[in-house]
Structure formats: C-alpha cells, structure tokens
C-alpha cells in the first residue's frame, strides 16, 4: 500500500515540477525580451517562419470557415426568413471566436510542431549544450525570439483570418443566398458597432479577438520550446516531443479560450 501512495506522490510531484518548469521558461523567455544581447536577426527569421510561413494555411482556413459559416447559417436563417443577418453571424463568430481559435490551432499544428522538432533535434545532437559551452544562454538565443515572434505574428495572422473569413461569407451571401455585397457589409459593420468601442474607435469585438491570439501565440511558442528543450532519447524522442506539443498546445488553447472568453465578456460587457 505505501508503495502505491509513494508512486502517486512522486507522479504528482513530477507534474507540479513540470508546470513549474513550464512557467519558469515562459517567464524567462519574456524577461529576456528586455535583456541584452538582442538577437534581432533571429527574431526576424522567426517572424518570417511563423508569420509569413503560416499565411497560406491561415488564408485557406479563414476563407473556407467563412464560407461554411455563411452556408450553414443561411440554411438555418432561411426558415425564419432572416437571411439578411448572415453578415452579423459570420462577423461575430469570426471576430470573437473562430478567427483567433482556428488561427491558433493551425499555427499550433504547423509552428508548434516545427519549434519542438527543431529544438528537440538540437538537444539530441548536443547543439543546445554547444550553445551553452560557447557562452550563450539557449533560452535567450532560441526561446525568446520564437516566443516574441509568435506574440507579434499570431494577432496579425488572426486579423488576416478574420478578414478572409468575412470575405468568404460575402462570397456565399452573394452567390448562394442572393444578398448584395453592400447589404452584407452593412450588417457586418452593424454587428461590430453593436459590441461597443474601446478608446472610442477600436471595436470591442476586435479587441477581444486580438487579445486572444496574443495569449495563444505565447502558449504555442512556449509549449513547443518546452517540449523541444526537454527532449530525451534520440530521434524517437523528437517525435514524441512534436506530438506532445501539438496535443498540449491545442488542448490548452481550447481550455484557455473558454476562460478568456468569460473574462473578456465580464470586462467588455459588464
């Protein structure tokens, strides 16, 4: 019996330490943004890889999600004769939820796994130790540029995702339901304006939609780096780290999204 308790105790301790390590890594990576030396070229390279590299999948995701949203809502709204509200529905869903979450999930799959695989293979081929030996802090050189790039680029990708999604809805509204473009965009704007404005000019829906990807970006990059840096057991370990990153980051994004939504609704609606 005591051995079972001991095992549970050790497993629990292990989990707690993992969480602690994860947050220490997150904290250090953010802290090093403000500490010299700055690896600007690494940052730009990562922004290119994370942002520009993910553009095509985000464009495709956004466009087809917008279209399918318009299509589904058209079928439902037709029964009430309210197809005119397609624009409102697409805009609300895209800006508040689907834009950030889908961009987050797509980037988690593409970039998170890439980060884990790259840092993982650097770990198993002793390149991380080599960095340390050459007097460089691997967190400063490898983690900080990736985290910062994700923090910057995910909101940008989300904005693109939102726009393309609403445009996709537009295509369906015109071609399938027969709503003129001008009317579609007017309902889109009505929806945005209905949410209210922060600082007089910035729509609240948009603010919510931008805060989320900022958090998601951090989750993706830190998770990828954490599993990458802690890779053990050769090339097989790299595969394990990659899988873990995608699964953990995706689930975390969905869970955090729920609580973040509650928080943001309380702030912006309350």
């Amino acid at each position: 019996m005591p051995s079972v308790l001991k095992r549970i105790n050790e497993a629990a301790k292990d989990k707690v330490f993992t969480v602690q390590d994860y947050f220490t890594l997150a904290w250090n990576s953010i802290r090093f943004i403000f500490v010299r030396p700055f690896y600007t070229s690494d940052l730009i390279q990562q922004m290119d890889a994370i942002g520009v590299g993910s553009l095509v999948i985000v464009l495709l995701t956004g466009f087809f999600t917008g279209m399918v949203l318009a299509l589904q809502s058209a079928v439902q709204l037709k029964t009430f004769g309210a197809t005119i509200y397609i624009g409102r529905l697409v805009a609300a869903s895209m800006l508040r939820e689907l834009g950030p979450v889908l961009a987050g999930l797509m980037v988690a799959g593409r970039v998170g796994s890439g980060i884990a695989a790259q840092l993982g293979s650097m770990r198993v081929t002793e390149q991380i130790d080599a960095l340390n030996t050459l007097g460089t802090d691997p967190i400063k050189k490898l983690v900080t540029p990736r985290v910062l790039a994700a923090l910057i680029m995910l909101p940008v990708l989300t904005v693109i995702n939102d726009m393309v999604g609403i445009f996709g809805g537009n295509v369906i509204a015109v071609a399938y339901v027969g709503i003129p473009t001008s009317l579609y965009w007017r309902t889109v704007w009505e929806q945005i304006a209905a949410g209210g404005f922060s600082f007089h000019y910035v729509p609240n829906d948009f603010m919510q939609g931008l805060l989320k990807p900022f958090v998601f970006g951090g989750i993706i990059a830190v998770t990828g780096c954490y599993f990458g840096l802690n890779t053990k057991g050769g090339t097989e370990g790299v595969g394990v780290s990659t899988t873990r990153t995608v699964v953990s980051a995706s689930i975390t994004i969905l869970i955090v999204d729920y609580f973040l939504t509650q928080l943001l609704l309380a702030i912006f609606s309350g």
Partner: protein, 341 residues
C-alpha cells in the same frame, strides 16, 4: 646526355637508401644534388626530404631533452628549500611542473543513482589528460562538470585556481569562454554555414570587425588542415564525419581557448581519420600549449596523445598516471581493460 659515370643501367633502379641515424643533428651537406636522369633526381630529392625531416625531429628531441634537464635541475634545487611538496612534484612523471589549470577536488555527483564519487585530479598547463573507462561510467559527466553544465553535489571544481562550483549562470557563461569543447557528434549548428559556426563565439563575445573575424576563421580552418575557400560556405550536412570533427575543433579554439575538452573525438571514425584527429589534438597541445581533457575509449589513440591517463571505474578514478605506468601495471582490472594492448 649525362657525364655521371655511376648512372644506373636500369632506370627503375632504386638509388642508395639514406644512411641510418646520424650522430649529430646537422644536415648532411656532403650529399651533392644528383646529376642523373630525371627519375633518379626525384628519388634523390625525396630521400633528402626524409633526411631533413629526420634531422628536424632529432633537433626537436634534443631541445626537449635539454628542457627536461633544466627543469629537473630547477626542481632538484628547489626541493632543497621546500622538501615536502616539491619533492613530491619532482617525483611525479608529469613533464610540466606548471600551474594547475583544471582541478577536481573530491567531486561527487548523483542523479537517481550515484555517477561519480570522490573523484579528484589535476591538469597542469599544457597537459593532455585522457579519461578512459567503460561506457556509462560518467566520463562525459566530468566534462560537463568542468564546463559547469552540471554542479557537483559534493567537492569542488576549479579552473585557473577559481572555484566555479558556486557561480551564477551568467558568471558560468564567462568561465566557459576560456574553454573550447569538441562534442562527440561535433554539434555544429546545422542551420549555419561552417564560417558562421566558427565565427559564432567571436561574434558573440568579441568586438572584432567582420574582416578580422574572417581572418580568424581562415586561420583556424587552416590550422585544422581544411581549405578555407572550399569549406567555409558549406553547411555541416555537406561535410564528412572527420571534417565535421575538424570544424568542431576549429570552433572550439576560435576564441583562443586555453583549455580544450574533447568528448570521444575519435569515435565513429575510420583508422586514418582517427590518426588525423589524434595528431591534430597533439598539434594543439604542442604548438599552442593548450591544456586538454580527452574522454575516450580508444586506447591506442589515447596513449599517443596522453601525458597522463585517468581510468574511471565504478564511479571512482582507479588509476591516474602516465601511459607507460598504466601498461606496466599489474592490476588485474587495468590489464583486463587494456586487453593485451
């Protein structure tokens, strides 16, 4: 055609072999350049070249012998004043009675299981200490302790007389700049070219201008016998195993490190390349006076380069001495380990 009366009838006939060893270190000037046919001339030149090599080697040996005499004389003289310590050191077989550069003092380390227990040794300036032992005995751990990538549970590690055990992370980064490390798989950054790999420590820690960096990179590549123009812009994935190791050595010494650490420098290499890398490590020690710690299980190459050998078994250093002492040892484990070497 030629007025040499001794011209051989058969043009393939090998000319007289060079005389064996010469008592003095002087170059033999009696031998006149041959006036025979072209082939004979070439052979003559080749043999002269061997002759010159032999002479230079002999001179070098004499110089070292002389140094040893002087050093022993100094030791003997000093020993009169401070008998205990210096007599002990004079009695040691080490060639350099010099400053201790790396010191491990009763170091112990354990993770889940004990890895090292009570491990102590000292490496003096210019020494090459080879740590040998079975796989999994914690040989590479010793290198990580010296680099302070690991901190011992007990005991102290000192570099140039400074205790590095309690340093902060940033202070440890400074200490590491004195040390060049060559990893088992070379650990070159695969996203960078050979040039960028070697330039990395320079860009990171010096204010050298780009042309000075290039000059240094070229110098280091030439030192490790690689053609800078050919390899500089290649990626590590385009290099062979031996070339990677050489680039790894060039990167380790880029910052003019005074200490070089090698983790299994010859593992996975063919016998010829093993020889090349071994010679390179010896060249670093001889020409630059670098202090080296080599972790290896290749006994043959270890014995060639080691000034002293440390044998690690069961978490302890069970033998520490010169290769000659090791081969002469009657200890059963050592005999088994050497396996009839």
């Amino acid at each position: 055609m030629s007025d040499d009366p001794k011209k051989p009838k058969d043009p393939n006939e090998i000319p007289d072999p060079p005389k064996p060893s010469r008592p003095s270190g002087e170059i033999d000037r009696r031998r006149e350049p041959p006036t025979g046919p072209k082939r004979r001339k070439e052979d003559e030149l080749a043999s002269m070249e061997t002759q010159v090599f032999r002479t230079v080697r002999q001179q070098e040996r004499q110089r070292l012998e002389k140094q040893r005499h002087v050093r022993n004389a100094i030791r003997a003289e000093l020993a009169g004043d401070a008998p205990d310590e210096l007599t002990r050191m004079a009695g040691m077989e080490d060639d350099g009675l010099l400053d201790p550069v790396i010191e491990l003092d009763r170091v112990s380390l354990k993770f889940e299981v004990p890895i090292l227990e009570d491990v102590s040794f000292v490496a003096h300036t210019g020494e090459t200490i080879v740590v040998v032992g079975e796989s999994g005995t914690g040989k590479s751990t010793i290198l990580k302790l010296i680099l302070r990538l690991l901190v011992p549970d007990d005991g102290r590690v000192m570099i140039d007389g400074d205790d590095i055990t309690d340093l902060s992370f940033d202070e440890a980064l400074d200490v590491r700049q004195k040390i060049g490390m060559v990893f088992q798989g070379a650990a070159l950054f695969d996203s960078m070219t050979v040039y960028e790999n070697i330039a990395y420590p320079l860009r990171e820690h010096t204010r050298l201008k780009e042309d000075q960096i290039e000059e240094r990179v070229r110098e280091k590549l030439s030192f490790v016998d690689l053609d800078p123009d050919r390899v500089m812009h290649q990626l590590p994935s385009e290099l062979s195993g031996g070339m990677k190791k050489r680039v790894g050595i060039a990167r380790g010494m880029a910052n003019n490190a005074e200490i070089m650490l090698y983790d299994e420098p010859t593992s996975g290499l063919d016998p010829l390349t093993t020889g090349t890398i071994t010679r390179l490590i010896m060249k670093l020690q001889r020409e630059l006076g670098v202090t080296s710690i080599v972790v290896s299980h290749d006994i043959r190459s270890s014995f060639r380069m080691a000034t002293r050998v440390a044998l690690l078994a069961e978490r302890h250093i069970v033998f520490f001495g010169t290769p000659e002492e090791m081969t002469a040892s009657e200890d059963e484990y050592i005999r088994d380990f050497l396996g009839g070497f």
